[in-house]
C-alpha cells in the first residue's frame, strides 16, 4: 500500500469515528466467554446464558457494582456496538439469538491471556522453523516450472508461513521487553525494601537477564545469517526467471529478519547501559552508604542552604575580547537648504493673454468647421503656442452642447492641425 493510500485509509477511519473502548470488567467478560471454550463448553451463547455469564463476571471483578444485571446488559450492548460480540443469526447456520466472540475479540483476549516470552527454547524453535520454511521455499523455487508453482509454492509460503513465524518471534520480543521492565521494577522494589541486603538478589537478577540477552542475541545472529543465505539463493532463482512478486516478498522477509536483528542489538545495548548504571549505583551509593544516611543528610543540607548558602567553584574560560571589524564612519550630510531672503516680495506670475474662446469658436464654426479637431485647429492657430494646451479644454467646453456623437470620450483620437495635440473626436451638429 502506498503512503497516499495510508493517508486515505486513516482519513476514512477518522471520518467514521472508529474507536475501541473496553474497560477492565468488559475485557474480563470477553475472556470469560473465551475460556468457556477452553473447558469444553460451547462458545455460542444464548442471550440469557450470556447475560448470566456477564453478570457473574462483573460481580466477581467489581464487587461494589450496584446493579450487576444492568451493568451486564450495558456491557453486552457496548461490546456488540463495537463488534466484539456478534449475533449469529439470519443465515441459517445456527438458530437466531446466539452470540459469539468476533475474531477481533478473540485476538484481543488471546493477546491478553498469552504468556509469550522470548526464551532460548522458543527463539531457537521459531527461528529453526523459519530457516526450514525458507529451505523448503528454496527447493520449490529450484523446481518451479510454471507460474502456479512460483505463486503457490514460493510466494505464498514466503508471504504467509515465514512471515507468520517471524511475527511470532516479534510478538515474543514484546513479551521480553515487558519482562525486562518487570526486572527493572523488581530491582527498584528490592532496593527500596532491603537496600544493602538486596545486593545479592539484584546481582543475580541482572546477571540472569544479561545471560538471556546474550544468548538470544547469539541465536538471532546465527539464525538470521542462515536465513539470509537461503534468501539469497531464492533471490538468484527469482531474478533468473523474472519473478518480480517473489523478489518483493523476499525483500519484505529480509527486512523483517533485519528488524529482528536490530531489535536484539538495541535491547542488548540498552540492557548493557542499565546493567552498568545499576552496578555503579550499587558500588557508589548502596555500598558506600549502607545505612542510607546520605539522602537524609543531603535533605538537611538543602533545607539549610538558604540560611547558609554556598556555591561550587568551577573553572571559567576568560572571555575573549573580540574587536569589531574597523568600519569607516558613514558621512551623513545634514538635510539643509540654502538660506533665502523670505522677506523679499514674491513676483506675481505673468497674466495669461486674454482670449475670447467663445468668439474664436463661433468664428471657426462660421468658417465651416464641423468637428472638434477642426474647431480646435482654427482656435489654436490664433493664440500663442504656450497658451494652446490649456485652451483645448476651453474649446471643448464651448462645444459640449453641440456634440452629436463621440461626446464622453468614446470617439477616435485625432491630431489637432499639425500637432502636437490630440483630442477625442466629436462631430458637431450643424449651426442654426
Amino acid at each position: 500500500m502506498r503512503v497516499h493510500d495510508h493517508h486515505r485509509t486513516i482519513a476514512r477511519l477518522a471520518q467514521r469515528g472508529a474507536a475501541l473502548r473496553v474497560d477492565t470488567a468488559e475485557l474480563c467478560c470477553l475472556a470469560a466467554m473465551h475460556l468457556q471454550g477452553a473447558v469444553g463448553e460451547s462458545t455460542l451463547f444464548e442471550e440469557e446464558r450470556l447475560a448470566a455469564l456477564f453478570e457473574a463476571t462483573i460481580e466477581a471483578v467489581e464487587p461494589a457494582a450496584e446493579n450487576p444485571r444492568k451493568r451486564a446488559t450495558h456491557a453486552i450492548e457496548r461490546l456488540r456496538a463495537q463488534r466484539l460480540i456478534v449475533r449469529l443469526d439470519g443465515e441459517g447456520i445456527v438458530r437466531a439469538g446466539e452470540y459469539a466472540l468476533s475474531p477481533l475479540a478473540v485476538n484481543i483476549v488471546e493477546r491478553q491471556l498469552a504468556d509469550e516470552h522470548l526464551t532460548r527454547a522458543s527463539l531457537d524453535g521459531l527461528m529453526t522453523s523459519v530457516v526450514s520454511g525458507l529451505t523448503a521455499v528454496r527447493v520449490a523455487a529450484e523446481a518451479a516450472a510454471s507460474e502456479d508453482d512460483w505463486d503457490g509454492r514460493v510466494r505464498v509460503p514466503l508471504e504467509v508461513v515465514v512471515a507468520e513465524l517471524l511475527n511470532g518471534v516479534e510478538r515474543r520480543q514484546l513479551g521480553l521487553d515487558e519482562q525486562q521492565r518487570q526486572v527493572r521494577a523488581e530491582i527498584t522494589r528490592l532496593l527500596e525494601a532491603d537496600w544493602l541486603d538486596a545486593l545479592g538478589g539484584i546481582e543475580a537478577l541482572l546477571d540472569a537477564t544479561a545471560d538471556t540477552l546474550v544468548e538470544l542475541r547469539r541465536l538471532l545472529l546465527q539464525h538470521t545469517n542462515q536465513a539470509h543465505a537461503v534468501l539469497d539463493d531464492v533471490r538468484i532463482q527469482a531474478q533468473g526467471r523474472g519473478r518480480i512478486e517473489v523478489l518483493v516478498a523476499l525483500r519484505r522477509t529480509g527486512d523483517q529478519l533485519d528488524r529482528l536483528l536490530a531489535w536484539g542489538h538495541s535491547r542488548h545495548a540498552a540492557w548493557s547501559a542499565y546493567h552498568g548504571s545499576v552496578h555503579r549505583f550499587l558500588r557508589d551509593v548502596v555500598r558506600l552508604d549502607p545505612d542510607r544516611q546520605l539522602s537524609g543528610r543531603l535533605r538537611e543540607q538543602i533545607g539549610a542552604w538558604p540560611e547558609s548558602p554556598f556555591t561550587l567553584r568551577l573553572a571559567q574560560s576568560p572571555r575573549l575580547t573580540v574587536l569589531r571589524p574597523p568600519a569607516r564612519p558613514v558621512e551623513r550630510p545634514a538635510v539643509v537648504r540654502p538660506a533665502q531672503d523670505w522677506s523679499a516680495p514674491v513676483a506675481a506670475p505673468p497674466e495669461a493673454p486674454a482670449v475670447d474662446v467663445a468668439a474664436l469658436v463661433e468664428a471657426a464654426l462660421a468658417g465651416g468647421a464641423t468637428r472638434l479637431s477642426e474647431v480646435a485647429a482654427v482656435v489654436l492657430a490664433r493664440v500663442p503656442e504656450d497658451a494652446r494646451y490649456g485652451l483645448i479644454g476651453r474649446v471643448a467646453a464651448a462645444l459640449a452642447g453641440r456634440a452629436r456623437d463621440g461626446h464622453g470620450g468614446a470617439g477616435p483620437w485625432v491630431a489637432v492641425g499639425e500637432g502636437p495635440y490630440e483630442v477625442t473626436e466629436w462631430t458637431l451638429e450643424a449651426g442654426e
Binding site: I187, S295, I302, T311, A315
Partner: protein, 235 residues
C-alpha cells in the same frame, strides 16, 4: 596523584598529550567548567591516560585536574590565573535536588527525572515561595501565582540547560533530564559523618566551594517596574 594513576598513562610525555586530536576540545571544555564522566568514554579515557601529564600542566595555570572517586574529571581553580565561575543560587538548589534524585532507586529504574518531578521536590524541600524566589528572583509576591509558576518552569529549564553545559546533567528533551555522575559534587558536604558546618569549612579551605552572602528578602512593596521580564532563556 594516586599509585593507580602512576601505573596508567598511554602517553610518553606532555607533548604527546597536547598533540592528540582530542586535546584542544577537551582543554577548552575543562577550562569552561565542564565535567567529563564515563558517559563520554573517549574523552574520559583520554583524561585517564593523560592525567599523569595534565595534572602538572594545569597546576602551572593555578588549577587542579580533579579525578573524583565517583568517576569524573573537572578543573578546579586554586589561584587567580584562571577565572572562577560560581554557580547561581538557582543552579545550586536544582543541582542539590538532582543529587538527591540520583540517590534514589526509582531514578535508576526510569533513567531520568522530569521537570515536574524536580519542581515538586524543590517545593517539598523548600516551600513554593522560596523556590519561586530562587528560580526567578525578580518575581514579586503579588504577581499572579499561575504566571509565577510558568516563569519558574521556564527558569528551571534555563537552569537545567546551564547545568547540562557544565556536564552535570543531560537534557533528553525539554522535559526529561538524565543525571550524570558529576552531580555528586553537590552532595559533597553531606558525605561523611562530620556535621555540615565542619564539612563546609573543610570544602571551603580546599577551594571546592565558596560561601555566599545571604541576600535580604526583596521588598514586596517595591514598584514592579520590570513586568516585561528579561526571560533571556525562555523555551
Amino acid at each position: 596523584m594516586s599509585d593507580f594513576d602512576e601505573l596508567g598513562g598511554g602517553f610518553a610525555d606532555l607533548a604527546a598529550v597536547i598533540a592528540d586530536g582530542l586535546f584542544p576540545r577537551l582543554d577548552q571544555a575543562l577550562r569552561s567548567g565542564l565535567h567529563v564522566d564515563r558517559r563520554a568514554p573517549a574523552d574520559y579515557h583520554f583524561l585517564v591516560d593523560a592525567q599523569k601529564w595534565l595534572e602538572p600542566h594545569y597546576q602551572r595555570y593555578g588549577a587542579d585536574l580533579v579525578h573524583a572517586p565517583d568517576g569524573f574529571f573537572y578543573l578546579r581553580p586554586v589561584g587567580d590565573r584562571l577565572p572562577v565561575r560560581r554557580l547561581t543560587p538557582a543552579e545550586m538548589l536544582v543541582g542539590q535536588t538532582l543529587a538527591l534524585f540520583a540517590l534514589e532507586p526509582a531514578t535508576l529504574e526510569a533513567g531520568h527525572v522530569t521537570r515536574t518531578q524536580i519542581l515538586e521536590r524543590l517545593r517539598d524541600l523548600l516551600g513554593t515561595d522560596r523556590v519561586l524566589q530562587a528560580l526567578k528572583p525578580k518575581t514579586r509576591a503579588r504577581r499572579a501565582r499561575h504566571r509565577a509558576e510558568a516563569e519558574a518552569r521556564h527558569a528551571l529549564l534555563a537552569t537545567l540547560r546551564r547545568l547540562a553545559r557544565l556536564g552535570f546533567v543531560e537534557l533528553l528533551d525539554d522535559d526529561r533530564v538524565a543525571l550524570r555522575d558529576a552531580l555528586m559534587r553537590f552532595a559533597e558536604p553531606a558525605r561523611g559523618t562530620e556535621d555540615l558546618a565542619t564539612a563546609l569549612g573543610r570544602l571551603v579551605a580546599g577551594g571546592e566551594i565558596e560561601r555566599l552572602e545571604v541576600e535580604p528578602d526583596e521588598d514586596d512593596d517595591e514598584p514592579d517596574e520590570d513586568d516585561a521580564d528579561d526571560d533571556e532563556e525562555g523555551p
